[in-house]
Subunit: 235 residues, 2 copies
């Protein structure tokens, strides 16, 4: 389905390529890049942790290069496994991206689940705080921002992102609301927060980029609360 | 000041490179692509309307390929002028992008100026309506979306976009407000609207993507109004 499906052995796309021969000796040449466990393109690279290694490689590459420029081959190389194993575990590049999105969004998913136990009138502040906690932390921010960028610029990535966000995150948030238009409410709240983090971290536009998080939370929480539980306009 | 100032004759902007020789015969080969007047690579392409032609070519290419993949050379070719003329009028690629942003945002800029004459308590609805009018129209949406995408994915494009949006649009909106934190207010309002249009048109996430504009305006106008003129949290 994509050009990357070719079963390559050696390789050479810019950056990254290490030029090691395909006989299992790579990783002994002293390059600092390869450190994840032993083997083993030569052996196919199966075994415990393989799936996790592939996923970690995928997430790193998607974050670094975006959806379009990431190939299944490069992901396999990053994980030191045979490309066939990547296909075995994740299917196509789309499947890989989907898994990477789920992994990256895991902290958000977990926290949203916790919103279930929050009083409805506190949901605005809790959701806003949760959102900022994740985005203020560079470790969680970088891969999220990368995935949002991919989704905003590539149609396939957008579809996968949409399915995940709508199906997992927003549905869960909407599920905590007692309203017929819960999904729209959740999404309008998300729009306010997404717009804010894009201005803050991607476009870096002051004063949103320079205000401290608490000031922004104080401004945004009432608006998020309004979207989630406020009176909707009639008509 | 607008792209329509180009001196078009026949037309058909779809593709671009025509492979015609640089002797002034291009456009006679029957390709439907080139419509912009005579001339001119052979002659350097100067003369009335040159600047507008270059700008129209730049806007089209930035919209189609994004900031990174657009070259000054391609812009010159699209406008049928010598590359030196592009540099003469616009300096670098950054200068071109900056001019293209200003051209693309012109409808917004004009409308924001009109907000000056709106009663403060109507500003939320007027601004929201104005925003949707521009984004609901595919003709104005496409280049805007393209520029936002470039800005979200490329640092230089982000800087230019930021300078323009912060310096022109948001300052103007803030200027209509009577508040010490006017710029923050304007930006938080913009964040809500930007987040919404990205979910609606770029990520295409229902229900925001599928609701009619009036429903969204009814939901968003009070929030925008709140950001612009509402009571700010203390402390």
């Amino acid at each position: 389905m994509s050009a990357e499906d070719t079963r390559a052995t050696t390789d050479g796309s810019a950056g990254r390529a290490d030029g090691a021969p395909p006989d299992g000796t790579e990783g002994r040449d002293g390059t600092p890049r390869r450190r994840r466990g032993r083997p083993a393109r030569g052996e196919g690279g199966g075994g415990p942790g393989t799936q996790e290694r592939i996923l970690a490689s995928a997430r790193e590459l998607f974050a670094e290069r975006g959806y379009e420029k990431t190939s299944v081959r490069a992901v396999a190389r990053g994980a030191e496994v045979d490309q066939a194993l990547v296909h075995h575990y994740f299917g196509t590049k789309e499947g890989l991206f989907s898994a990477a999105v789920a992994l990256t969004a895991a902290p958000v998913t977990d926290r949203i689940a916790a919103l279930d136990r929050v009083a409805p009138e506190r949901a605005g502040e809790e959701f806003t705080r949760m959102f900022f906690r994740i985005w203020e932390n560079p470790v969680t921010r970088a891969p999220l921002l990368a995935i949002v960028r991919s989704a905003l610029t590539h149609e396939t990535a957008a579809r996968i992102f949409r399915e995940f966000i709508a199906g997992q995150l927003l549905s869960r948030l909407a599920g905590t609301l007692d309203a017929a238009d819960a999904q729209l409410r959740a999404e309008l709240a998300a729009a306010q927060l997404v717009g804010t983090v894009l201005l803050r971290y991607a476009l870096k536009m002051p004063p949103i980029a320079t205000e401290d998080a608490e000031t922004l939370i104080a401004r945004l929480a009432p608006v998020v609360q309004h979207h989630l539980t406020g009176t909707a306009p009639t008509g």
